[in-house]
Amino acid sequence: MRNIAIIAKREIKGYFTTPLAYIFIVIFLAMSGAFAFYIGGFFNREQASLATFFLYHPWLYLMLVPAIAMRLWAEERKTGTIEILMTLPISTSEAVLGKYLAAWGFTGIALTLTFPMWITVNVLGEPDNGVILAGYLGSFFMAGAFLAIGSCISALTKNQVIAFIVAATVCFLFTMSGLELVLSFFRGWAPEILVRTIASMSFLTHFGAILKGVIDIRDLIFFGTLIAFWLFANVIIIDLKKAA
């Protein structure tokens, strides 16, 4: 635990000693606001809710989270610092978790900084704050799932651009897998059970369910399992590269 915390602390500090953190936060805030107000018609709907704000989070994460995740391991490999990190007296899982939790915590900070939206709806009307809390929780977990995918893929390469593109693509497939666009591709030939499995992997479906304000434990378990799976794969990949 101690080692995970030390690594996470170093990582988080690292975000804020470079412009990366500030640029990410500014862009995240600007775009989440812009989507909610202009595309989502936040005011026109005359509803005291953050539904239009959360609605675009999957699409925002699709672009921004792989950008955070791409450097997690690829950069260490490129600069050679991975050789320092992995010869310190820590286990691979501690390194993976420490780095991941720092990145997740960082997206959590960015997400928290959208609180003026929450204040705004509370000033303008009487929203259901339970639903809003559920939205934040769902959004945070979804970001975590995107990040776990990105972290794992970042461990495969030392090229950050490749890490970004592959991670964004995989995240896109997970986001879209519940939509007819993806499903109809499988429906022609794949057995029903596979189609349903793919559909059940959809981030949009699970996130949508949480947004309704019903925190179904199964939706959180879905994201949690996904995170665990990709981080586990992350550890395996790093250990495999050691033996390669």
Binding site: I6, K13, T79, G80, E83, M86, T87, P89, S91
Partner: protein, 351 residues
Amino acid sequence: MFDFGRPDEEAATGLNNKINRQPLGITTMAEKIVLNGLTKKFGPILAVDNISLSVATGEVLGFLGPNGAGKSTTMRMLTGFIEPTSGTAEVCGLDITRHPVEIKRRIGYLPEGAPTYGDMTPESYLGFIAEIRGFNGPEIRRRIEAVTKKVDIGSVMRQPIDTLSKGFKRRVGLAQAMLHDPEILIMDEPTDGLDPNQKHQVRKLIREMSADRAIIISTHILEEVEAVCSRAVIIAHGRLLADSTPEELLSRAPDHNAVMITVDTNKSDAVKKTLEGLDAVKNTRSEKTANGDTRLVIRPKKGKLIADDVSQLLRSKNIPVQEMFVERGSLDDVFRKITKDGKSAGGGTNA
């Protein structure tokens, strides 16, 4: 599993192909690092080929070899960064693949190129290293201060490492490796990129630390081997070609203990004849100097010293000599001889 008490028997049976040359005075105890048949393949490429050696406390072992010889790969296996394809590496009696964390605790490692987190300052970087190495509170400060003084980076502690010169970066890397006062130090080209004064300083540091530690450094600066190493191994194409003391390696130089004299070119043939008459002389060679004189290189027979004989002979025959000196031979020559002649692997090195 290894019986260090009976190296001769082991060598005689050739059981595990171990090279048992040990420095004087160190016999049975304190073997900190034992490599046995260590092999690494990257796909079809054989990077390290069946290397066996051991290093004891008090030794500074120099890894010598051309670029791409497998020095760094060997170090990476030893520090647990990569896993061997076959063979074992034991550190403090523990197997590296089975007890990686325990071993990493005891090793200080400077990887090739001395990578560091460039956006951190030396202060925060060393703070991170100290924490992850398990130090707490005031001990962290104390450790950092001590190691900072050792490598002389006190003036740049608050600048981002990225903005530092190559020499400072290397020394921050060294500080990282030495911070926890490890019993085993493994340094991949520790003086690369340092100026002569800093090189001198780092070599002095390594010598000072060597008494109660086992140290491995890699280098391709051969004078460094003479300056700091108590033992040197030469690696090329992943194979261990020689394992000996720097002095012994030096004695393999073709011109080791040869006497050089410079004489008038007109008389050089006569002088050459005279000198070849000496018992201990193996052969002579002549070469022109820049100002038209002739330099004679008189090589002794193996193990003989001829300076005295040569000078007496010259004096008795009244031959005027412009200069005369004894050549030590250079490790460069030995290195070239051994690495180009890959056949010297195996038998010859164990002699």
